[in-house]
């Protein structure tokens, strides 16, 4: 896969989700480095991210039902979107019985991967990297 030439494929929804995912990953990453177990701030931030990613996925569902389709493969778009929308939830579920810094790092990892995958979703939609 070649690196994309620019960032023109990024729509505003993807930009918001990607930026928020990175911010949440940063908050949780710092908290993990400071040895904090998952707490109000990190769990709250992940819940906000979950809500935004749910809206992000629903938007693709609506657009698809209206008849638009990605330039890249449809199966890949949905493989990414399903993973994206599940990641914060799975992170929260797994962090619940992990009252150490590692639980917080689980949240950071989930948010980071979700952010990157949102970027990939936009690439698949625009057909970046497919020829």
């Amino acid at each position: 896969m070649n690196e994309p030439a620019g960032t023109g494929y990024l729509d505003v929804w993807t930009g918001i989700s990607l930026a928020l995912g990175l911010v949440v990953a940063g908050i949780c990453g710092v908290a993990a480095l400071r040895g904090r177990p998952p707490g109000r701030v990190t769990v709250g931030a992940t819940l906000v991210l979950q809500a935004v990613l749910l809206a992000y996925t629903v938007r693709y569902l609506v657009v698809s039902l209206q008849g638009q389709s990605p330039v890249g493969p449809v199966w890949e778009l949905w493989a990414y979107l399903v993973t994206v929308v599940l990641l914060p939830a799975v992170g929260l579920l797994w962090a619940r019985d992990e009252h150490t810094r590692w639980g917080t790092l689980v949240l950071a990892a989930a948010a980071f991967i979700a952010a990157v995958m949102c970027g990939r979703v936009a690439q698949i939609w625009a057909g970046v990297g497919f020829s």
Binding site: E76, L87, V90, G91, W102
Partner: protein
Amino acid sequence: MNPDHRRHGPGKVILVLYVVFVIGSVSRAGYQILTRWEEAPLAYGLSAFAAAVYVVATVSLALPGDRAWWLSVTTISIELAGVLIVGLWSVLDPAAFPDATVWSRFGQGYLYIPLVLPVIGLWWLLSPRGRPPAR
């Protein structure tokens, strides 16, 4: 010590990453093999192999006990060898890999996580907390 401590602490973070790769590699391999097998059987066969390795590694990482530990060490070693061999192969002979696999170009399309993940996994399994309890 708790016999299933391997899936706690750092092990839980590693498990999250492996689960993501299971979803990614299984869906990719499934799609490639079901729809375009004849285009590049080598690359798609390797995709399927990689997917199987990720599935076995993830399940064994989540299970307690000695046998699961050995299975994890074995599959993650195969994973590391796979990403190194396929990575090198795809760089030397790009024509054999017209479509990305998880391991081609050392996992470049996946932020090189496929290269880093088995190293972290083996470190964890061989570290004192990741080992099965001594008898």
